[in-house]
C-alpha cells in the first residue's frame, strides 16, 4: 500500500541493510556521524568526476575537431569548470538542493546561498537510514556534475560558437536549466526524515495525534522535486545530465546553423589519438560518476561500478560490430563512441539494474546510438558536430526508460526502495512494470521539454546580446587564432 502512496526511491542491497540495521537500532536517538570510509570514497569520486570534465571531455572533444579549433574546445570546457565552481557555491547548490517553498517541485531556494549555515560538521543524507556524509563532500561531488553537464553541450556547436556567447550561455543555462532539473530529480528529504515521520505515525496514540503525524509524513514526503515525487529513477544523471545536455546541444546546433563547408569539405577529426585518451579518461572518471552516485562505499556502489564496466564494454563491441557489418571496417572512433554511448545509457541504471541487464542495455545502446549518429543525423541534416544528441540524448533516453524495466527483481534488478512501510528499515517495494516505465517516460518527457524550451530561450537571448556565431572569416581561419590568438600546434 505504501509503495503506491509514496515515491519509490533508490534502493540498497539487502546484505548492506543488515549491516546498517544494528547501529540504527542501538543508537536511534543519536544524530548519525559520517563514516570515514564513505567520506573517503566520496572525496575520491568527486575528483574522478572532475577528471571527466578536464581533461577527459576536453581531450575527447578536442581530438574530434579540426586542428584549427582544438584550443577553442579546451578553453570552452576549462572556462565552464571555473565558472561553475563559483556559481555553484554562490547560489547553484542552494537552488538545486534546498527547499524552494511554493515552487519546491521545480527549484530550490536561496537558504544556502553563499553556503550559508554549512560548515565542516554539516551532513547530507545518503540512501541509507542513519548514514550521512559531510555536506561539504556532497557539495563538491554535485559541483562536478554541474561542471560536466554544460561541458558536454560544447560538442554540439563546436567550431563555430563565439566565446563570449558561450560564457554568457553557460551562466544562464546552468542557472535556469541545470539547477532546476537537478532539483526536480534528486532533491528529497532523505531516508531518516521519512523514517522519523513514519515512526511518528506508528507511535501516535489518539486520532488527533495520528492525523497530525500523517500530515507531517505527507509534508516530508512532498519535500522533494517533481520527478522524484513521480517516482522517476535516475541513479547518476541520465535525465539531469545526458538528456538535458543532449537536447540543449541539438537545439544549439540547429539555432547556430551548420558549419561552413559541412557536407562538402573534409571536416575530419584532427587527432583520434587525443580522442581515445579522452574517452578512456571518461570511462575511468565515470566510476566516480556512477559508483560515487551511491554516496556510500558499499555493495551497491560496487554494483554500479560493475555495471559501468560491462554495459560500456557491451556497447563498445556493439557499435564496433554493427559498423563493421554495415560500413566494412571496424573503426577506433566507432569503438570509443560505443563505449561512451554505453556509459551514458548505464548512468541512470547503474545502481538499479543487475549486471546481466546492463549488458543487454549496453548492446542495445551501442547499436541505437550508431544508427542515430550515422543514419538519422545524415537524413535530417543537422550539424551536431560531435554527436552530443546522438550519443548523450539518445543514450540517455534509452537508459532512462530501460532503468524502469531493468530495476525489476525478476530481471536481476535491485527492486524499488520503500523507506516508509517499515520505518528505519529499507525494504523492497512492490514493482509494477507499467507504473515504473510510465514514470520513467514522464521524466524523460519533462527533461526534454524543460531543456529544449529553456535552452532555446537562452540561445535567443544570447544571440540578441552578443551574437551566437563567429564571423565566417573567423570560422574559416579557426577559432583558436580568431578568438584566442594562439594555435594548438606549432611545428
Amino acid at each position: 500500500m505504501f509503495s503506491r502512496l509514496f515515491p519509490r526511491v533508490p534502493v540498497l542491497s539487502g546484505a548492506f541493510l543488515l549491516s546498517v540495521l544494528a547501529p540504527i537500532v542501538a543508537h536511534a536517538a543519536d544524530a548519525p556521524v559520517p563514516d570515514k570510509g564513505d567520506t573517503t570514497w566520496m572525496l575520491v569520486s568527486t575528483v574522478l568526476v572532475f577528471f571527466m570534465a578536464i581533461p577527459g571531455i576536453a581531450l575527447f572533444y578536442g581530438g574530434l575537431v579540426r586542428a584549427k579549433n582544438m584550443l577553442s574546445i579546451m578553453t570552452q570546457v576549462y572556462v565552464i569548470t571555473c565558472l561553475v565552481s563559483l556559481i555553484w557555491v554562490i547560489y547553484g547548490y542552494s537552488l538545486a538542493f534546498t527547499n524552494g517553498g511554493g515552487i519546491n517541485s521545480f527549484i530550490g531556494g536561496f537558504s544556502k546561498a553563499f553556503l550559508r549555515g554549512v560548515d565542516a560538521n554539516s551532513v547530507a543524507a545518503t540512501f541509507s537510514n542513519g548514514v550521512v556524509i559531510p555536506e561539504y563532500v556532497y557539495i563538491c561531488f554535485q559541483m562536478t556534475f554541474a561542471m560536466l553537464t554544460p561541458a558536454l553541450i560544447v560538442g554540439a556547436f563546436a567550431e563555430r560558437m563565439r566565446f563570449s556567447a558561450l560564457v554568457l550561455f553557460m551562466v544562464l543555462w546552468v542557472t535556469f536549466v541545470y539547477f532546476p532539473m537537478a532539483h526536480m530529480v534528486w532533491y528529497w528529504a532523505g531516508p531518516d526524515a521519512l523514517a522519523d515521520a513514519a515512526k511518528a505515525v506508528a507511535a501516535a496514540t489518539d486520532a488527533t495525534a495520528k492525523a497530525a503525524a500523517e500530515a507531517r509524513l505527507a509534508e516530508v514526503t512532498a519535500d522533494a522535486g517533481l520527478l522524484y515525487k513521480w517516482g522517476a529513477l535516475d541513479f547518476a544523471g541520465g535525465t539531469v545530465v545526458h538528456i538535458n545536455a543532449g537536447i540543449a546541444g541539438l537545439v544549439g546546433c540547429i539555432m547556430l546553423g551548420k558549419r561552413i563547408g559541412f557536407g562538402r569539405e573534409l571536416i575530419a577529426p584532427h587527432s583520434l589519438t587525443t580522442t581515445t585518451i579522452g574517452a578512456a579518461m571518461l570511462w575511468v572518471g565515470w566510476f566516480g560518476f556512477n559508483a560515487g552516485s551511491n554516496l556510500e562505499a558499499n555493495g551497491t556502489a560496487a554494483l554500479a561500478m560493475l555495471n559501468t564496466f560491462v554495459a560500456t564494454g557491451a556497447a563498445g563491441l556493439s557499435w564496433l560490430l554493427v559498423e563493421w557489418a554495415l560500413k566494412g571496417k571496424p573503426s577506433l572512433l566507432g569503438l570509443v563512441s560505443g563505449t561512451i554511448a554505453g556509459l551514458v545509457a548505464v548512468t541512470p541504471a547503474a545502481g538499479f539494474a543487475g549486471p546481466m541487464g546492463s549488458i543487454v542495455l549496453g548492446l542495445v545502446a551501442g547499436a541505437v546510438c550508431f544508427f542515430f549518429c550515422s543514419t538519422v543525423k545524415n537524413a535530417l541534416g543537422y550539424d551536431d558536430s560531435l554527436d552530443v544528441f546522438g550519443i548523450h540524448c539518445v543514450g540517455g533516453i534509452l537508459g532512462a526508460i530501460a532503468t524502469g524495466i531493468l530495476v525489476a527483481p525478476s530481471l536481476g534488478g535491485v527492486g524499488l526502495a520503500d523507506y516508509i512501510s517499515s520505518p528505519g528499515h529499507l525494504v523492497a517495494g512492490e514493482y509494477v512494470f507499467s507504473a515504473a516505465v510510465l514514470s520513467q517516460i514522464k521524466a524523460v518527457a519533462v527533461a526534454i521539454t524543460w531543456s529544449a524550451v529553456g535552452s532555446a530561450i537562452i540561445y535567443k537571448i544570447v544571440d540578441m546580446v552578443v551574437g551566437l556565431r563567429a564571423e565566417p572569416e573567423e570560422e574559416r581561419e579557426g577559432l583558436d587564432l580568431a578568438e584566442h590568438g594562439e594555435r594548438a600546434y606549432n611545428y
Partner: protein
C-alpha cells in the same frame, strides 16, 4: 648536371636510399607531399560521415646528379620504388644549370 624529382610511396623511402647509396649520390632532399594521379583517393568514415579523400600522401625526393650517372640513378629509384600497383609515382629529370655549396663556395659538380 641533372636534377631528379621523384614522387614515391612514403614507405619506399628507405629502399630508395639504399639503392642510391652505392651510386655516386651524396645527398638528397625529401618532402612530404599530397597529390593525385591515376590512383584514386580513398574513403574515410567518421561515425557514419563519409569523406572521399582525393589527395594521397606521397614523398617527393629531389636529388642533383652528374649527367653521366643520371640513367643509373633513375633506374635505381624506379627499381626500388616499384610495387607494381597503381600509385607507385613518377620520376622527372630536369636540366640543372648550376650548383653552389654554401659553406665552401664550391660550384657545380664539386658542389653536388
Amino acid at each position: 648536371m641533372k636534377f631528379i624529382v621523384a614522387i614515391i610511396k612514403p614507405f619506399k623511402l628507405e629502399e630508395v636510399r639504399d639503392a642510391l647509396s652505392p651510386l655516386d649520390v651524396h645527398g638528397l632532399t625529401v618532402t612530404e607531399v599530397k597529390g593525385y594521379g591515376r590512383q584514386k583517393g580513398h574513403t574515410e568514415i567518421y561515425r557514419g560521415a563519409e569523406y572521399a579523400v582525393n589527395f594521397l600522401p606521397k614523398l617527393k625526393i629531389e636529388v642533383a646528379v652528374d649527367s653521366a650517372i643520371v640513367d643509373q640513378v633513375v633506374a635505381a629509384i624506379a627499381g626500388a620504388a616499384r610495387t607494381g600497383q597503381i600509385g607507385d609515382g613518377k620520376i622527372f629529370v630536369l636540366s640543372l644549370e648550376s650548383a653552389l655549396r654554401i659553406r665552401t663556395g664550391e660550384t657545380d659538380l664539386d658542389a653536388i
